[in-house]
């Protein structure tokens, strides 16, 4: 699965730290998700979508092989 968190963050022009605070997770979590090392739970995915004001599909996309 690929995600566009880094892009969304750039559009909003906020740091990992600020995003982490906004959705109340650790900075490590944002870092791991952006690096593709962690697939968030549905709750966290929904929180991200709500914060960025986009649909979940705009942030998370299935890759071939998923």
């Amino acid at each position: 699965m690929i995600n566009t968190i880094k892009v969304q963050r750039a559009i909003k022009n906020i740091t990992q730290e600020e995003l982490a605070k906004a959705i109340s997770v650790s900075r490590q979590t944002i870092n791991a998700m952006e690096g593709g090392k962690y697939v968030p739970s549905t709750v966290l995915a929904l929180k991200l979508a709500k914060y960025f004001e986009v649909t979940i599909e705009e942030i998370f996309k299935l890759e071939e092989g998923d």
Partner: protein
């Protein structure tokens, strides 16, 4: 998300301070060959025991034993401080941190089991006693190292 059974974040600091203090005390103890100048090693007291056996004596259950409590207390403090470090909540305890915890426990269980197996196969007689001593703390220590390494790794971008 369901809350994990963890201690409040503040316990972590208490754990570290106590553990480092006991560790330094231990090093000083090694330097003085086990006879700390400020410890009365002849001091002993009666403590309740579930089971006790002297080298040449009967096995006693639910009894009072006359022992020097220093070692017992040092091990208890070390274990409690390690538990405080391992079991206290991170400042930002979220689902990813939980997954790091799980990963770290798995690592600790694997390494601890492997070390025990190696010790069983290749260590005999008296040194095997040190295996037991080290194993008292090994699981917690391996977990703490792995968990903090992972937190550090993911804090760098």
């Amino acid at each position: 998300m369901k809350k994990q059974p963890l201690l409040p974040h503040g316990f972590k600091k208490i754990g570290w301070v106590t553990f480092i203090a006991v560790f330094i005390l231990h090093l000083v103890g090694i330097f003085y060959d086990g006879n700390l100048p400020f410890f009365d090693t002849t001091f002993s007291m009666k403590l309740p025991a579930i089971v006790s056996k002297k080298w040449s004596g009967p096995t006693q259950f639910f009894t009072l034993v006359e022992v020097g409590p220093t070692l017992t207390i040092i091990i208890a403090i070390s274990l409690i401080s390690l538990m405080f470090i391992a079991f206290s909540r991170q400042k930002e305890e979220d689902e990813f941190v939980s997954s790091l915890r799980l990963n770290s426990w798995l690592w600790a269980a694997w390494i601890n089991s492997a070390l025990l197996l190696l010790a069983d196969l290749f260590i005999y007689n008296e040194p095997f006693m040190s295996v037991v001593e080290i194993n008292l703390f090994a699981l917690l220590i391996i977990y703490i190292i792995r968990f903090h390494y992972l937190l550090y790794k993911y804090s760098k971008s």
